[in-house]
Subunit: 260 residues, 2 copies
């Protein structure tokens, strides 16, 4: 049986690297990135250039689904860069995908779309509360940065392409994905960590769920987490298995198999 084709933009970034092998079980994975390594399945393109993105999609057609990760991902990225890559670039990916008949887009949004609920340094009150009231995807957005604004823009665009063009669009406000999958290096990560294993599971849910549009948080089952996963559980079937506090305890020697 032929596996449906899945294009991952930004495949050479951290999240793309985590996803590519596990998702290859069910999908024929192709990639697009501005940075090497390139191969016969991973193409070089600058997403800020519609022509380059379209060329990759035309060459790969038919592509069933796209996971759109390519972006400047640092929260302090300057406006000019988020405008070019995260705003213009995301619009290019959506537009090229629409023209090529892509059925489903999974957009890597960010928790920074609602980051201002956490407060601003040095008053990051949400990080200190023992049992914070979770922020849900139905709360009004409250970006904390130009970067957060650019990710909220992507959610709007997703809504538009779904309403106007029928493209299924699922937006994930991704928590903290760590290169070494270790959430113990920063107190905030203990609440915002999304483990590699839960990330893969979440993306599998996004690619198969019977949903046409939605916004969901992507976070592990951490003690003290301040994002509401109820719609992700109900609509996507997402069931996170990892908990940063257990990982922390394991490192301290209390529980040798916290993440098994």
């Amino acid at each position: 049986m032929t596996r449906p084709r899945l294009l991952i933009t930004g495949i050479n970034g951290l999240i793309g690297e985590v996803l590519r092998d596990p998702l290859a079980k069910s999908f024929e994975i192709c990639g697009l990135d501005s940075r090497p390594p390139f191969s016969e399945r991973v193409f070089q393109a600058d997403i800020a250039d519609l022509g380059e993105v379209s060329q990759v999609l035309d060459r790969l057609a038919p592509v069933r689904s796209v996971i759109h990760l390519a972006a400047h991902s640092a929260v302090d990225t300057a406006w000019e860069s988020v405008l070019r890559v995260n705003i213009q670039g995301t619009r290019n990916v959506y537009e090229a995908a629409r023209r090529c008949g892509v059925q489903r887009m999974v957009f890597a949004s960010s928790n920074h779309v609602t980051g201002a609920y956490e407060g601003f340094a040095p008053n990051l009150h949400l990080h200190r509360e023992a049992e914070p009231v979770p922020i849900s995807a139905s709360h009004p957005i409250r970006p904390d940065s130009d970067y957060g604004v650019s990710k909220a823009f992507g959610e709007i665009l997703a809504r538009y392409y779904c309403a106007r063009w029928g493209m299924e669009s699922i937006c994930i406000r991704i928590g903290s994905v760590c290169r070494d999958d270790d959430p113990t290096t920063d107190p905030r990560f203990l609440r915002t960590w999304l483990s590699h294993r839960d990330l893969v599971h979440l993306m599998e849910c996004c690619l198969s769920a019977n949903v046409t549009y939605g916004v969901y948080y992507g976070v592990s089952n951490n003690k003290g987490a301040f994002w509401d996963l109820s719609n992700a559980r109900a609509e996507l079937g997402y069931e996170p298995r990892d908990d940063a506090s257990r990982r922390m305890a394991a490192q301290a020697g209390d529980s040798p198999s916290a993440c098994s």
Copy 2:
């Protein structure tokens, strides 16, 4: 007593022309536009150029409030144009205003932020319903166009500048403002009309209300209107006096003073 200074971007457009004289009773009006006529109070600037916008604001400082109207306002404006003027341009106006200490921004958003609720031609179902369920500002956005996406972006930016920088930001999803103030030329206008008189009153409310952030529809008291004004009435004190159906009846000779 000195009147506080109010900058209107896009002052030479239709809405700017309606507002400038009535608002001059309470404010010292200055303007910025890309098109003439210019004067000692109306400066030429391309809002897509941060330097030009900043220069105008620096020259006028202190400016208490800004009404940001400058934009491509046609719903079918091409993406490249809305990106440059409505997205980059709006960000420039916010950023220049922040740097100059502007206290309050009134952003001319648009009903096209939720236009997809009306359906798409030829299935514009909302226009035919006798008693449509009104769309409120707390409904999820659902843009109908690149233009609508760009206005939703402006609302996000307003939210960010308020949360991060304390700039009071009021967004008005303006209905149909007609050059000759006549809503009888299009069946949709009978529901979406915002009369010149109600527009002026609404902007007066926006400039004085005790509100730090909000999104409101701007429409007259039309029979069959499908936008909810309850938050505008409660939070801004907006009380529209005109009704397109009475204007229509007046033209048909039923009521000679429908809009008095």
